[in-house]
Symmetry: C2
Subunit: 398 residues, 2 copies
């Protein structure tokens, strides 16, 4: 029987993707499970004690203004705080150039709304962040996959795609990518910027992880190589608290103007109180104190995972060794079906995300998996990778 | 010269409406201006003192959970708090049936996304809430206007529209409507529900104002007359704080399922911390204490405005006398152009919103104006209406 109102749904709705990994991840909440599947910060990184004070400061300083309707573009003190935050990343903008959204997910959704006419082509690195694909798919685009190696997308693959067809934008997570942990190298940024400028193309640079650097030297955002051709997207979710849902972007003037109009129609403005909390978190010196703590919490977890992979994974497996972020990407030998391996691993109380879900064509990612190292403690990580290695060895010998 | 990226905009973007009243309202911030133009709560209604305690309780009780990623459908304790809040309105639902959004504006946007294919018809009362038109227009619908009198939409006009064409949904602000202050009477709700059920139609009931009742008896939500054919939309913006951006809805199961999927792609979930604050505001007894204070603040402002209109407006003017809400709707005699009157009023330091902006066809609303009475103090209201009356009299004799 057709459900009531089935024929009331928009054509667009029929192209939305339900979160396909939700079904297989239901087992993650089973008792005793060590989950390397999530992509969420460790709750130990939240500055709960500081928040008692931050709340008081916000109520004292802003009072009713922190609770009232506010500007669509964002709470002015927050955008001013972001100017210095972005300045430290070599992004030189004024508060007027920044738009605040409900998490970076909402920037991606609004970009889709403003830029994608059904049938337009969006270029993606391979594999790509699943949440971005969910956001864009509601607007009925086609996707073109850009070939990618350990340094990020290949400029010649991008150029070939741009020569062949019209592309509305190229979506890249440039630093410590989700799901691979890869970083587009500085040399590659320069080359990609040249291709993009030559074609008058537009890059959407999603940069949620670059502050989570455990070693090595910072790479300037892609935005700094091609500011006129880039929408820069970031968030305070990974360095403050994701539950506050605060993302932001910088965009070329015309696109910024329409993002503003679309946001006004979609939700008027983002949470004023949360923006006031984030303002004080940045300007009150809390971020500078907390970020090193977050890094010192995550670094040993990542090191534990890399060492455990070395010690436990059978021949034929390789994995990324990122300088930061939240993920390690494991690629098994040809013929391994990581989803079949997933179900064996779950029996051994280890969960991860089979990598095929991050590919437009799942067949391209059958032997891959994404491992998160920010949520579990070191001992749990070592135990989990031990079990995963055992499952992978049994799998190889079957 | 065409701006850079002009041809990157989606077809949809070209149908978005920029906020047309923003331009004429720029003068509102001039010194000495008394604004009756806004639609925002008085900052005196915000429970700032209580919030010091509410924040502490939230951090003590929920800790990291209030700062972490959370369910797309909403923070569970908040949805549980809404069950009792809605129960008091005779809406009998479980927490599972409630979806939380970034203000009710974001419910309206997501409904548009899920339900409107370009060219679909949406039925609106005449005049209608401008923000809803902005939200829906991004999805390229057509509009059908339903004739309306002092008791709300006319069931026979609705029936005629539903007979004549396919309508995706009927959007109604049922109680103390924005912009008119009108309430769909109980008898009319029953009649409209019968028409809607007979046609298998869908009503979107937007109910942000019903708690702001200054006299008379509460009318049950339209939802209670036709729960299977209604999406009920509300918010805590008018009884707690609009800056927290917390709206919610109840919808038929299939529509709820797709609203959920669309929201997951659009912003993952709404601000967890704000939902925790609202939970404690409702469950900690703060709402029950604050709402009577809000009503006692607004009631005399409304009475002052009604009395001043009686004393000052020339013959031929009529206005609504709502039992609650935030607005009074004034209709001048035929031939009056309320926007021309607006510019004269601004010279006398009074601002309001010319009513034509709330009509699909602005020609239908030329002599109308929307007056807000919640923001200015009684003395300011009396002075403002005195000046408005004088301008209206001069205008009549020109």
């Amino acid at each position: 029987m057709t459900q009531q109102f089935q024929d009331f749904l928009s054509k667009r709705t029929l192209s939305m993707r339900k979160n396909q990994i939700r079904e297989i991840l239901k087992v993650v909440s089973q008792p005793g499970m060590i989950s390397l599947a999530g992509g969420i910060p460790a709750p130990e990184t939240f500055p709960i004690e500081d928040l008692y004070r931050i709340n008081e400061t916000v109520l004292n300083r802003y009072g009713a203004a922190a609770l009232q309707y506010d500007l669509t573009e964002g709470f002015t003190p927050f955008r001013e705080a972001l100017v210095s935050y972005l300045g430290a990343k070599e992004i030189d903008v004024s508060a007027d150039e920044i738009l605040v959204f409900n998490g970076s997910q909402s920037v991606l959704d609004t970009l889709g709304k403003v830029l994608i006419t059904p049938g337009d082509t969006i270029a993606l690195e391979t594999p790509s962040y699943l949440g971005a694909i969910s956001a864009f798919s509601a607007y009925e685009p086609s996707y073109a996959s850009i070939a990618t190696d350990d340094e990020g997308i290949l400029p010649e693959s991008l150029e070939e795609t741009l020569d062949r067809q019209r592309v509305k934008f190229i979506y890249l997570v440039t630093t410590f990518q989700n799901p691979t942990g890869r970083t587009l190298s500085a040399a590659r940024r320069q080359q990609v910027a040249e291709v993009v400028k030559r074609h008058g193309a537009l890059v959407v640079e999603d940069d949620p992880y670059s502050d989570l650097r455990y070693r090595g030297e910072a790479v300037p955002p892609f935005y700094t190589y091609a500011p006129e051709n880039t929408v820069y997207v970031s968030t305070v979710s990974k360095v403050f608290a994701p539950g506050l849902r605060l993302g932001f972007c910088i965009a070329p003037p015309l696109i910024k103007e329409w993002l503003y109009t679309a946001k006004q129609g979609a939700d008027l403005h983002s949470n004023t109180y949360a923006q006031a909390l984030a303002t004080e978190y940045i300007c009150g010196g809390y971020l500078d104190k907390q970020l090193p703590r977050i890094i010192e919490l995550y670094r040993p977890r990542q090191e534990a995972m890399l060492a455990a992979l070395d010690a436990n994974m059978p021949a034929g497996y390789r994995w990324t060794k990122p300088d930061g972020g939240m993920f390690i990407w494991v690629e098994g030998p040809d013929g391994v079906d990581a989803e079949a391996l997933y179900w064996k691993a779950v029996e051994q109380k280890v969960a991860f995300v089979p990598g095929k879900y991050f590919f437009i064509d799942p067949a391209d990612g059958l032997p891959t998996m994404r491992l998160n190292f920010t949520r579990a403690h070191e001992e749990a990580i070592v135990k989990a990778i031990g079990n995963l290695g055992q499952v992978a060895r049994e799998f190889a010998s079957e």
